[in-house]
């Protein structure tokens, strides 16, 4: 009996400590960022080409370069915090980091805990073929009858591998993985592959660059619109971030980044 009482009181003390933790100062994170002169941004740098480490151990990638520009336009310096993807939402929620950019898709579940910026990029996947291609593709899985090319390690590679090869819909021998997307384009030109699956921004760049290609089908395979994760209910910060994203979209900055990171 005594033991139970002691155990209960220990639990009560712990619960009391935990309960006191939900409250936070009602100021906007934006003020905090401007005051400190730096924005602390979380990312999970294990997801190339969006965020990864380069040879020197620095963070790089589409999201990283985009955030660098956003911080520049906010007039503050940028501090990166790397943590596993699963910990990022909790870290934003608890104010451990000011925001997080890590190829986040919107989901209702996540939206209850944190806010999302406007999408800064919508990944569309394009099925690129030579102009003389006569087949029809009305469903992504239709491509199993053709010889396919992807850039290795991309989301398209992942999609073809998991959805088509691992499910047994097509043999692995019909898939060619290239280190660079322009190598794949050369093989598409030469007829060694029939369909090149790539992110649509670089795919369009390839059409301009090579000529003689067309996109037969566009679809969202894996990624979809991606957003920056912001603290819940912080309108000032969200407006500021959205404003800068809009500017960067209008200036074509984001499309340039997409070409740089999704096709090289």
């Amino acid at each position: 009996m005594k033991k139970t009482l002691v155990a209960l009181s220990v639990l009560l003390i712990m619960a009391g400590l935990l309960a006191g933790c939900g409250e936070q100062a009602p100021t906007s994170t934006l003020d905090k960022i401007k005051q400190a002169g730096k924005v602390v941004v979380g990312t999970s740098a294990d997801y190339p080409p969006y965020e990864y480490v380069d040879e020197t151990g620095n963070y790089t990638g589409f999201d990283i370069e985009l955030m660098t520009e956003i911080a520049k336009r906010m007039g503050v310096s940028l501090e990166w915090v790397d943590m596993p993807f699963d910990s990022l939402i909790a870290a934003v929620q608890e104010g451990k980091i000011d925001m997080s950019i890590s190829c986040f898709n919107y989901s209702e579940e996540r939206d209850q805990q944190v806010d999302f910026s406007d999408p800064y990029y919508t990944s569309q996947d394009a099925f690129l073929v030579a102009e003389g291609f006569t087949g029809t593709i009305t469903d992504p899985a239709d491509i199993v009858q053709y010889k396919i090319g992807v850039q290795s390690g991309t989301v398209q590679d992942e999609w073809v591998t998991t959805e088509l090869i691992e499910t047994g819909l097509m043999p692995e021998s019909k898939l060619s993985r290239y280190e660079r997307v322009d190598q794949a384009a050369l093989d598409l030109q030469a007829g060694r592959i029939d369909v090149l699956v790539a992110d649509s921004v670089p795919a369009q760049a390839l059409i301009k660059q090579f000529g003689g290609f067309k996109i037969v089908y566009e679809v969202q395979l894996y990624t979809g619109p991606i957003n920056i994760v912001l603290p819940e209910g912080d309108k000032a910060l969200r407006d500021e971030v959205n404003k800068i994203i809009k500017q960067l979209q209008d200036e074509g900055f984001i499309d340039q980044l997409a070409v740089k990171y999704f096709s090289e």
Binding site: L18, D46, E55, D82, E94, G153
Partner: protein, 214 residues
């Protein structure tokens, strides 16, 4: 990424691994030993209290305590990831080390305490000069086990963003598409750390052995 850089990047996480271990293990040692003596010699209430403490702390997975300290308690105490990790591993280790020392104390026969008191030593003196020197010898093998566990558990702090060995291996694995090489490198570093620690502790154990006392 060439192999040298690759290895260097992962190995530079060792500083964090050692940092976390060097805080968690000694603080666990001080608390654990103190708690063990209190649990054995400070009366019934202390015995009961520390038994509950040990049960709770050994029942919570280290990563859960880590998340509680770092995320849930952030309103009350704002710890950096490094300190949240070190403190939570230290707390959990204190419970395990307490059990190691408690067992060691109890295996020194109670008659010795009585004999020491009978020749006029105070309780504190008896503990310091009779019980402690024997207890420490008995505790070393178990303790070296705990040291190895803390070194390896320190990898858990990656979950809140401390760039230690394991997290760096993950990042390298993602950017180079060479998971095997990355994780083998991490395993090799952990193994080396544990190996050296155990060697040192073995040597201490041999040095401290009393020849006539098997």
């Amino acid at each position: 990424m060439d192999i040298g850089r690759f290895f260097q990047y992962i190995a530079s996480g060792t500083a964090y691994t050692l940092g976390v271990t060097l805080i968690a293990l000694p603080s666990g040692l001080i608390l654990g030993m103190l708690f063990a003596f209190l649990a054995v010699y400070a009366g019934k209430i202390a015995t009961r209290f520390f038994s509950i403490y040990s049960t709770i702390m050994r029942g919570i997975p280290p990563i859960v305590l880590l998340f509680i300290l770092y995320f849930l308690m952030s309103g009350a105490i704002n710890l950096t990831p490094f300190w949240a990790g070190s403190v939570s591993l230290g707390i959990i280790s204190s419970a395990y080390q307490m059990e190691i020392f408690r067992g060691a104390i109890l295996s020194v026969s109670a008659d010795q305490m009585m004999a020491a008191r009978a020749i006029g030593l105070s309780k504190i003196q008896a503990i310091r000069t009779v019980i402690f020197p024997q207890m420490i010898r008995i505790a070393i093998p178990g303790w070296s086990n705990e040291a190895a566990i803390v070194i390896k558990d320190s990898s858990l702090v990656y979950a809140i963003g401390v760039p230690e060995i394991l997290r760096r291996a993950q990042l390298i694995s993602a950017s180079t598409q060479q998971p095997f090489l990355a994780y083998t490198t991490a395993a090799f570093i952990y193994f080396t750390l544990v190996f050296i620690t155990n060697r040192l502790l073995n040597r201490a154990e041999q040095k401290l052995t009393i020849p006539s006392n098997p």
